[in-house]
């Protein structure tokens, strides 16, 4: 039995769920390397990996100290794409006050995360027997929606049409006019799945932005927060402020593809692909265009959806889930978000997630997501004759 090292935030449920799965399958407990230590360069990762180990990266999210340190780490990283993104010097970043839900320097955060991932991969390149369950290079691309969608486009996956970069509100409007698309989704390229997402429609003089981003104006500055409540901005000045805040951070602009309904709601689907095969699937129902918000939405059983989707359409969607995962060959698991269009005529893949396996309660053949990942590793070992 090989050893697993988890890089994560100790105490987070992601880490404890994974440890529980190890125990249930008779694996030794994983060594946990905190993100905070990795960022600070005091992680002893080489020691943990010495002699060969499986290294599992998990989300650095939901820990404000980690967030500050990643932003600080990103301060002196070169910016190649989003030169207009807000910047904060490293020492100031380390002192940022906690404000619940505040969207803080998402692009600079990404630069920091990317730098940490790159250096980890370099440092362990020469340690024999190290195996990344999800390779840092793939995680880097999965965390930028533009890079992720580019890989999916190359792989021939059905994705929403992309409108190209928009660095400000005016450029966004121009892109929409050029493309002849009055309805789009604008997503922070480097946000977590539900963060900084806006459904935006233009109709003549009217504009409507539906989003969980809350604009707070005080003292002549505008701050943005991720809110639990969906907000609708119809005042052009608010809409302009919203996009002038989001766009410089780098956004993915794509067509607004209508989603098929189930039980009087719009629905989408998270499919976890493990070792090349689709496994767990969770159906999310929403009364809003933002179906991937966990807080606001209900779940439905996948059997209920399958009962109404024609078999060949379901199979086509699952084939695209596998293709999506295959576009990230260094990943044992990829969480794919997709939806069917009304009438279940076709599907589109919206996103792929490097840490998309936190699906509590979802089972496949009686196993949770982590157990299925371990089972996939066990069968690799068995079939290769090792151990």
């Amino acid at each position: 039995m090989r050893r697993v090292v988890v890089v994560g935030n100790p105490g987070h449920k992601r880490v404890s769920f994974f440890q529980q799965a190890l125990a249930r399958r008779g694996w030794p407990p994983a060594g946990v390397v905190p993100w905070l230590d990795v960022i600070a360069g005091r992680d002893r990762l080489e020691d943990a990996a010495a002699g060969g180990a499986l290294i599992r990266l998990d989300s650095p999210g939901q820990d404000f100290e980690v967030e500050r340190r990643l932003i600080a780490r990103g301060a002196d990283e070169p910016e190649d794409e989003d030169a207009g993104a807000a910047a904060v010097p490293a020492d100031a970043a380390r002192e940022l006050p906690f404000e619940k839900g505040r969207l803080l320097y998402p692009r600079q955060w990404y630069r920091g995360f990317r730098a940490v991932l790159r250096s980890m991969e370099e440092r362990l390149a020469d340690v024999p027997g190290v195996r990344w369950l999800n390779r840092p290079a793939d995680v880097i691309d999965l965390f930028d929606k533009r890079r992720c969608q580019e890989r999916l486009a190359v792989a021939g996956v059905s994705i929403p049409a992309r409108l190209g970069p928009a660095r400000c509100y005016e450029e966004l409007l121009a892109r929409m006019r050029e493309a002849g698309r009055p309805r789009v989704f604008v997503k922070l390229a480097c946000g977590s799945s539900g963060s900084g997402v806006v459904a935006f429609a233009v109709g003549g003089p009217r504009v409507l932005a539906t989003t969980t981003v809350e604009l707070v104006r005080s003292g002549g500055r505008t701050r943005m927060f991720n809110s639990r409540r969906l907000r609708r901005y119809e005042n052009p000045a608010d809409v302009a402020a919203l996009f002038d805040g989001l766009c410089p951070e780098g956004v993915q602009v794509e067509e607004w593809v209508p989603k098929a309904g189930l039980r009087d709601r719009a629905c989408d689907l998270r499919v976890l692909v493990v070792g090349g095969s689709e496994r767990h699937a969770v159906v999310r129902l929403s009364q809003t265009p933002l179906t991937n918000l966990h807080l606001l939405n209900d779940r439905a059983d996948v059997a209920e959806l399958r009962a109404v989707v024609p078999v060949e359409k379901w199979e086509a969607a699952m084939a695209d889930c596998r293709r999506t995962a295959a576009a990230f060959p260094g990943c044992l698991h990829v969480g794919v978000d997709l939806a069917f269009t009304p009438g279940f005529r076709r599907h589109v893949v919206f996103e792929a997630n490097a840490f998309g396996d936190l699906l509590p309660g979802a089972l496949w053949n009686g196993l949770d997501t982590y157990e299925v990942e371990l089972a996939a590793l066990e069968s690799e070992v068995t079939s290769s004759g090792a151990s």
């Binding site: 109709g203 209508p258 309904g261 269009t341 009304p342 009438g343």
Partner: protein, 303 residues
Amino acid sequence: MAISKHADTFAGRPVREYEPGKPGPADCAYRLALEHDDGRTFPELLDEFLTEHGGPELTALVVGPWDYEDMLESSAELVEALVGAKDRMPDLAALYFGDITYDECEMSWIQHGDVSPLLPAFPKLDEFRIRGTTNVTFGTIRHPNLRSFAIESGGLNEELLPEVWAAELPRLEHLELWLGDGYYGGIATAAPLAPLLSGNLFPNLKYLGLRNSRIADEVAKAVAASPILERLEVLDLSLGNMGDEGARALIASPAVRKLRKLDLHHHYISDEVAAELRALGIAVDLNDRHEGHGDDRYITVSE
């Protein structure tokens, strides 16, 4: 919030998406919808559909989204196409004009235009339902056979109401108006409903729906005190923001007790008052209860 799902049934039939060469069950109503980024135009889709399913057999039709940019401008091309093809569906009895979800186009953004040629083109029409009222004109409404007329709106404009009150619909039994939110053009008080509530219009009316109202309490009070109630079998005040005030007015009205059904689903009524409603001795739909006060009381469609 909003409508997120297409109709499963219409005019008592299951709805099936029209797909060329793939007929649905014999009793189904087909839904004609252009796909997002569809290569076809609506007239082309209609022609293809009628070549396959047109004729006297065709009695019900659901029209879904048309061209995505045109939905923001006008439904004129659809009206023209449907009216132009009237001889290919001479027995059309049920038409749903605009089965469109929020995701496809917000209800108040669906720009219709002049839909007055539709009703006269289909003399056998029994049921007509339209979603979206922005820029709609019905003109002079006159139809010998129409029994069911429904207007779904996120904000039903006061200026449209006189067209409805003046309608000559001698067989009308079911009238459904989604009143919506004042912010999106809906009425701010129940006063504009007075001509309807007087009871002098639509002598055969059995079902009255004043749904999706942001002023549901006020509407309930106005209806509770109105002569029209005596003639109704079903009063439908669902999908709105009704609270105890409106519910109490209904409880106090003797005519409410003679209804066959009172539909209040999607509401903000307290358990105590809900219990009194259940004790009325008639069927009362109190599903979908929400919590909220004042401006936090959402209606089903305000957009």
